[in-house]
Symmetry: C2
Subunit: 300 residues, 2 copies
């Protein structure tokens, strides 16, 4: 069993030092309490949305920022993993500041130190005004705990992406998020949680999301932190301390057998998905364009 802790945080605008210290403290406390995989929110140091590019630049961290060293220290030498989201300053110090890209990134640390940084590839809404999209697919890290995929927030609303990560061998996705509150029926979870549960279920892969709480400049956050097991069901929601903790058997993700005659991956028909995709309507088509004849595929 793997003890997973997702520590949701309230992130203050324009306070990267304070946010960074609170993130470090939360991760340290979780590890001290026995957590093996610790997930912190998206943009845990910078917050979102930004007032302007100057604020974004001022809160963006280079990969060699001392704060990343402090995060590394939280798990160094342990069979533990920390995943944390932050605004990353790209480019080189020789570049004019105005030209330097900022990425919405997440770093994964394990006992050996910084293993890698993923730059969010599906930027949500106004993030596109401040961040450059990542050009590399979400990584799957082989760790002492198992194979941990890293994706960020809106990323996991693309089922092709979560499927791809499962096919690449992920046992669990660590997903820093910042989910804005959206309308949903009172008796239903937030839509992002429904989507995460389905992604876990159809891929038999755990998903650990860590959200933000509170509000920023009028934007309320859902506090939608959840640990979902490889069976697709909720294993933990946050307690009053804003930490969701669950013991999850990640080894279950290694076997995709449903019955002796059914298998989550072997039952796929990729050649058919490609064929349907070939029927894809032209991207530029308006909402009222009639369907082309290729859309209809009768067999009689």
């Amino acid at each position: 069993m793997t003890r997973i802790a997702c520590c949701q945080l309230t992130v203050q605008p324009a306070d990267p030092a304070g946010n960074g210290a609170r993130a470090t403290a939360a991760a340290s406390a979780a590890v001290a309490a026995g957590a093996q995989l610790v997930v912190l929110p998206e943009t845990a140091t910078s917050g979102l949305p930004f007032a302007d590019r100057a604020e974004a630049l001022a809160s963006a961290l280079r990969p060699d920022d001392p704060l990343l060293d402090r995060w590394a220290e939280v798990v160094r030498g342990r069979d533990a993993v920390l995943v944390v989201g932050f605004a990353e300053l790209g480019g080189s110090d020789a570049d004019p500041a105005g030209d330097r890209p900022i990425f919405n990134s997440a770093a994964l640390f394990d006992g050996s130190g910084l293993r890698g940084i993923y730059r969010k590839t599906h930027l949500w809404d106004q993030e596109k005004l401040f961040f450059a999209p990542g050009s590399q697919p979400p990584p799957v890290f082989d760790t002492a705990l198992g194979r941990i995929g890293v994706a960020i927030c809106y990323d996991i609303e693309f089922p092709e992406l979560t499927r791809s990560m499962a096919l690449a061998g992920a046992d669990v996705l660590a997903v820093p998020t910042a989910w804005p509150v959206v309308p949903h029926p009172a008796d239903e979870p937030t839509p992002e949680v429904v989507i995460a549960k389905a992604a876990a279920r159809v891929n038999r892969m755990a998903i650990a999301t860590c959200d933000r709480t509170g509000s920023t400049r009028g934007q309320d956050w859902t506090g939608g932190t959840v640990v979902i097991g490889p069976d697709g069901w909720v294993a933990a929601l946050p307690g009053e301390d804003d930490v969701a903790v669950a013991e999850v058997d990640l080894t279950l993700a290694r076997d995709k057998t449903l019955t002796p005659l059914a298998h989550l991956f072997d039952d796929r028909r990729p050649e058919l998905y490609a064929e349907v995709a070939a029927l894809t309507r032209r991207e530029a088509s308006g909402p009222d364009e009639p369907a082309g004849p290729g859309v209809v595929q009768p067999s009689v």
Copy 2:
């Protein structure tokens, strides 16, 4: 608005004539009550599981079976659509019966008659012992009500498939099902419904499932019939009459805009999914094979 009715049925083993008559009656009643899109269960005439191949053969219908004509009459000349699942006898009458394939099929009828038959491509479990898998992708039919995709049961647990159908322009999926009862937390819907809700939400596409009720040879069915709107939320569950009825605005499915800067389809990064897929672990690998170096994709 489109009035959708899903009429779940208890299907009796080895009684294709009786089951067929009950299916016709249910569809006729739904249309008489004003339904425009009517969905009936998977294998509505044959039932499942079969005792043996002889039973399967005896209950399989050729596409020119008079029962299909009766189903066509239910909606002929109307702006209405009927989707119904049945065991389909393939091959030719000149073939030895032992050689003829049987398909788990669904037919779509509209005012003009039989529009097409889809043969299930993702066969569940012991279905593989009796049915041949379809070789053509699920169709999307352009109808007076909008673009209606047809998939069957286990099909929609493959997110690549539902995504492909949305990209092919489907406004709604009509999904005959036969969902066996599986363990799930008491406060959660069945897993298939979670998966369907997520598929609707991430694609902004309605999904109308029609399940079986009761039990067959010890197999209990969930009665998991549900109409889900393009927003991903439940629009209707079955009443005491086993019919789920909802008015759904299918035109919402035509616009995938989430915000002025976010779009369900335009925000996709297909080149990255292909890149992750290239990291796919060898299909024959056992559960304990260590990850290859290609699995890890650090950016530092």
